[in-house]
Subunit: 233 residues, 2 copies
């Protein structure tokens, strides 16, 4: 039976901007699993009712349905253990859980403040009211105010990545010689930004820039080919 991934999309079906969904898109490519992309918007709650919850990514794999990006990654490695591993050993999986929480508490909020105005422009028209209400409540400011502050948010975004720079000088990927699920976790916010914003997040001499190029090149340039802005813009 077929494999399908419910993914958050913007104005266009292929403007995929969820950092959580990008983790799983890259994970499926890593495992070499073909899948159908099912575009979803924030307000398409009814479409996900089969999964018992209301957020993407949701993976439908034959008769199985798995949600939550971490649980999907664990499922993929356990269910397809003959294919390239996302986690090379259980300790690597445990340490990747730290990377996940570090990225979500430090990098995601810093990214959002850089791209929020562009992000609002890119969400589907029928999602705009939902997006405005939930994000203004979460961040305690009007979107327009936040958008005006986005330039000053860029240095904070770059500083949030300080712990990762020396690692990517010492090795090509967080996972070492090749990408791990931890790399796909960190790649998420970069694709989130790239899908919606022309902001130049990184200087070309930043070691994270070279890592992102390596990630964009993987799987025949799959991530680079998705709708978004060139990262050198």
């Amino acid at each position: 039976m077929a494999t399908a991934l419910w993914e958050l999309a913007g104005v266009e079906d292929d403007r995929l901007f969820s950092p959580y969904c990008w983790r799983i898109r890259m994970a499926l490519l890593h495992k070499g699993l073909a899948f159908e992309s099912l575009p979803w918007r924030f307000t398409d709650q009814a479409a996900l009712s089969f999964s018992g919850q209301g957020r993407v990514p949701v993976l439908v794999d034959g008769s199985r349905c798995v949600h939550d990006s971490w649980d999907i990654a664990v499922y993929l490695d356990e269910h397809y253990n003959g294919r390239p591993a996302l986690f090379e050993c259980s300790q690597a999986r445990s340490l990747a859980l730290f990377v996940k929480h570090w990225c979500e508490t430090q990098v995601h909020p810093a990214t959002l403040r850089v791209i929020i105005g562009d992000l609002f422009d890119a969400v589907h028209p029928r999602d705009k009211a939902y997006f405005r209400q939930t994000r203004e409540q979460r961040l305690g400011e009007r979107l327009e105010t936040l958008s005006q502050q986005s330039h000053s948010a860029l240095p904070l975004f770059r500083a949030s990545l300080d712990p990762v720079r020396p690692v990517l000088v010492a090795q090509d990927f967080l996972g070492g010689k090749g990408p791990s699920f931890a790399d796909y976790i960190l790649f998420g916010p970069f694709q989130w930004a790239r899908a919606v914003s022309p902001t130049r997040l990184l200087d070309p001499d930043d070691p994270i820039y070279a890592w992102r190029e390596r990630m964009l090149d993987r799987f025949g340039g799959a991530a680079r080919q998705m709708r978004g802005y060139p990262v050198w813009a």
Copy 2:
């Protein structure tokens, strides 16, 4: 031939406060390797000249001499690969390198600002001038000024640990079911503080508190028995 560890000590030979040396003390216990502790002070530069550099930890293992805590850990796993692993696989080692840089850029500076006054009191009298000069230069303030600010530094220390809390709710150790070198890295700043300061770093209901208890209990309570303050103080 014998194994010996050069470790930073304070007023007393067993007041061991270097977070880098604690990583290796715990790593040697993890590997089940007996070793002699050689107390060292910042101003004992001549004593380390055999190692070609001037910082601890330095491991002397028979005819070999290894310095830098990361390199020592890698050496121990490679040279004693029949003993319990610090890194379960190469990907876990690569991800532990991220934990190292995260801890050193986020947790170490935050810890130092909490304990700096107590730390100055605990360094050996012949190290005090060196300590004052280097730390005041690094931090851009007089030690007395920093010490007066230490109470306000505590919330920032606790916030620096935000990414680790949900991980230690989901699993007993950063490494999963058992401690990894990443756990010893994070344990370093706690032992640094414990050796010199009565400050209560964590609330007992913090999941990191329970993790620290597990770490203090390892190896027959080896870390708890070293000179320092009870962590419930």
